[in-house]
Amino acid sequence: MMLLTRWLTLRSMRSRPLRTLLGMFGIILGVAGLLAIRITNLTAMDTLSALFEGTSGKTDLIVTYNGTDGNGLPERILRRIIENEAIQAAVPSLQIQTALAVGVPESAMPLSLLGFEMGGFSIFGIDPQTDPAVRDYTITQGDFLSQDENGREIVLVENYASENELEVGKVVELLTEDGPKEFTIVGLIAKKGAGQNNNGAFGVIPLQTAQELFHRSGELDQVDIVLKPDFVSTDQLAVVKTQLQSQLGDDYPVTSTASGGNRVSQMLNGFSIGLNFMGGMALFVGGYLIYNTFSMTVVERTREFGLLRTLGLTQKQVIVQVLVEAGILGIMGSFIGALVGIGLAQSATYLLGYLLDLDSVSLKISMEVILTSLIIGVAITVVAALLPAWQAGRISPLEALRVRGIRKEGWLLRQGWKLGLVFLLISFIILVANPFPYDVQFRLGSLTVIFLFFGGTLLIPGSVGLWQRITRPVIHWLYGAAGQLGSRNIQRSKLRTTLTVAALMIGVSMIIITRGMTDSFRGDLETWINAYVGGDLLVTSSSPMRSQVMRRLEAIPGVEAVTPMRTLEVAWQTPDGKTEDLVFMGVDTETYNKVTSFVFSDSQVDADEAYKKLSEGNALFISSVLAEKYGLNAGDTLRLRTRSGELDFTIAAVVINFYNQGLAVQGNWQDMRRYFKTSEAGAYLVKLADGYGATEVQQRIQDTYADRENLSIASNQSLINQVLTLLNQAYSMFDVMAIIALLVGALGVVNTLTMNVLERSQEIGMLRSIGLTRGQTTVMVLAESLLMGLIGGVLGLGFGILLTRIFLWSMTAMSGYKINFVLPVGAVIAGILIALVVSQLAAIFPARRASRTQILDAIHYE
């Protein structure tokens, strides 16, 4: 067996280096794509988890306040907490978003697309004696905070300090409600553990100082709890959590730090879905290329296999030899693919860091992930080679002789269109009938993709005749009689043609899908972001702004209208009875429409009527994500937990809102004041009057009020551009995959036509001998290729659009994001043109080969 493998398989691989490399390229592509995506997903999860852990460190449980009135936990709660015998330490903290007077932070816009705030400067007021029990501080310079409870000391993160030219001993101004206050930097900590908070724009000051300067005397934001060693197991932790919750009451939610990880998973869900789909596609494309390459190999070695069968090699031995070749290619290709995948993951991770505004993101590489990717790579290669191996086994010994009998088409080629229709029907039923729960639908969605491609592929052999007849006039017009001769050839090697057209179909589909997803996503996101970041300027502050700020802004020349916005985290009861958090966005219905507008999910909704209901109170606009996920509609009610108890709000309308991943509702300002005891704005949207520029008015506000009211002003257009640029960069990764898929299709065309030319050498010699010119011979091959490109392009277009709709539907099913499908017109035209151009370019080499056929050699060719 070993000797046979060496002589037959290894030597054959060495003698066909290009073909061998082509096969390996397929598996490299598949494994690299899969591994890159898995590593990126792991890295993202790890990075975001670390951000959460940075602030919770050694904490077992966290006690917070429902926070609907902005008052925080009363300090006396500490005594009640420490009564629980399981508790070793209960560490208080006050957590404030403010600003250091070192300049306007870059990412001041709390877009919260991933659900947490970034930007600004984060201050923790802590008890320096007890806080290190729950958070890790690594002092790199100076000292930690002293025991002076009212001291004006601050400890910063060394990276942030270095960027802002701050050092131990220097005095900085911290912006408080009473204006800037001076603090002395007594120490610097490393950017790890607690130092990772807010990407290092973080500092700690004494708790009492914080309470005093931010008017929060007697209040806390959070109590971190460390349990005694006997109580840290999962079961006991759950028991203590329940005990504590019942002890403290519903106003003081007790959460474990594990729930932070769940939140990270939820955040990444939508991101992961898209990536995993592309990972699957990479494997599919890679597997397809392997199948294509092995099929070509079998065709090329038909005579050799026939000879070997004549000499006594059994069918099984032939199959084994082909699969051994697949195994060898799979192992080699998977290893190289793994290396390439790690490299790709590095680039993707860099992009991730950029998206999340993190200084550095380190790759999370796990041996298990690498090993499983390698195994999958080898398995896919062998599976992809199964059908060609079986076909090789079926080669008759007669092939070894000069007699080539009429090669009967297999059943799959003759009748496979029936099976193809069955596959398409099943896919259609899964899509339309939709009888399964969401998670099953998602798994079936993946199967639907495969069924669709297989179904479409099986239809090709039966339909090529029709295609040829339909396109006859066009081919004749383009390429004349020689072209018609060539286009008829497409019906001859149906298996080969099918493989090639299918490869082109997949390539074009991927272009349509990536552009379709991008345009659809961008369409909704742009619409939403233009409305959310409405008006022309966005004004924010380190602390909530009173109504006088609004009046002052309105008085600025050039300002036409101002509307406030505030977000609060509130608890709500889901339709299935669970209590979860979402964001309540308070809007002033008197001024909101003067600056911006809502984007209603349903274009048929009576906007005025909906707005009127919202204004009347006890009503909400909910996001389309919530509507999709929980099956809510206008007219239903939604229960929120308020300071006045649990209240039902009527859903006045469903709007597009991606804030906090779509877990957001919008209610009117009066309700916010009445039920959540909050009346201060977190931001103001400013609309400018005609004739006034953003820069001019921005400067005016800056000069007049920025320092006094601690305001940050940003132009909305620049913020929108920033977000859209980031998204474009993310999607460009998918475009690369589409291009690679199309290249695979192009390679398929080259293969097919080369084999066709080789097999028809005698025929070409005969045609040349009766007067076909070299140019006409070239044209004959080009015409055959053009028809392949046309069929592949049109089929790719159809499936691409269909699959885009499937993917968007799947995303909605899984995450609740409802994205409206936008037909990528540019990609549609480009896709077909590319298929046609690629098919012609790929045909150049085989066409030239055909035109150079030596007549006498060809006629004597066996």
């Binding site: 000879l307 004549t310 000499l311 006594g312 090699l313 069918q315 010994p397 002789l401 000069r402």
Partner: protein, 253 residues
């Protein structure tokens, strides 16, 4: 006592060519004894290649029975027929059909490797065959480094390496010049005589046919004539006999 190596009775083969059924063989009987050299001749379409394919188990008859080395081929499945072919038949093709990636020696040894045998045990046999065909000093050359005649000699050695019951040759000199062809036919004859090898060769070359012990003439799927040469008979006589039969058959139309 002569031993029958291969026997065919009532052999029929029909092909479906579109809507037309072509009868390539019409109920033919055929027998080959050990050490016997039989040439099969006939015009194109006479069924001689079809007969060779059926005898070699490369194709299945529409009717009739073939017995090779005591085994009835019709009751065997594909794997069993393959094994029969592996152990009992050596093939020589018109276009040599050597593997381009193997050396001359490796091409010769290939059937043994396919059968899973330890090559070291058969090295002496391989060396003998290389000597028989006069290629001992070319054993490491690949096919593209050998002439047509040399390649055919390698193919002959390959056919002999398993010491098969019968060699089937399909136009063995069809791709060679007359001098080289003569050399090949001499070798084939030698293998019959020295190794007591049964040999059936399809040929359209009258001169090649004169090396055989008997010549069988096919026409329209039937054996229409048979010539048995005498031992020691001059080649020119044999050639005249063959040509005469051809003329007679042509005259019959």
């Amino acid at each position: 006592m002569t031993k029958v190596v291969l026997e065919a009775k009532g052999l029929q083969k029909k092909y479906q060519m579109g809507e037309v059924v072509v009868e390539a063989l019409s109920g033919l009987d055929f027998q080959v004894n050990k050490g016997e050299f039989i040439a099969i001749m006939g015009p194109s379409g006479s069924g001689k290649s079809t007969l060779l394919h059926l005898l070699g188990g490369l194709d299945t008859p529409s009717d009739g029975e073939i017995t090779l080395a005591g085994q009835q081929l019709s009751i065997l499945n594909d794997k069993q027929i393959t094994l029969v072919r592996r152990h009992n038949i050596g093939f020589v093709f018109q276009f040599f059909n050597l593997l381009p990636t193997l050396t001359a020696e490796e091409n010769i040894a290939l059937p043994l490797v396919i059968d899973g045998r330890n090559l070291q045990e058969y090295q002496a046999r391989i060396d003998r065959l290389l000597e028989l065909v006069g290629l001992s000093d070319r054993r490491q050359h690949k096919p593209d480094q050998l002439s047509g005649g040399e390649q055919q000699r390698v193919a002959l050695a390959r056919a002999l390496v398993t010491e098969p019951a019968i060699i089937l040759a399909d136009e063995p000199t069809g791709n060679l010049d007359s001098k080289t062809g003569t050399a090949i036919m001499n070798l084939l004859k030698r293998s019959c005589v020295e190794l007591d090898q049964a040999l059936v060769a399809v040929t359209h070359d009258a001169r090649a046919a004169t090396y055989a012990d008997r010549v069988v003439f096919l026409q329209d799927g039937n054996i229409v004539r048979e010539i048995r040469f005498l031992e020691g008979q001059e080649m020119s006589d044999r050639l005249n006999m063959v040509i005469k039969v051809f003329e007679e058959l042509e005259a019959m139309g």
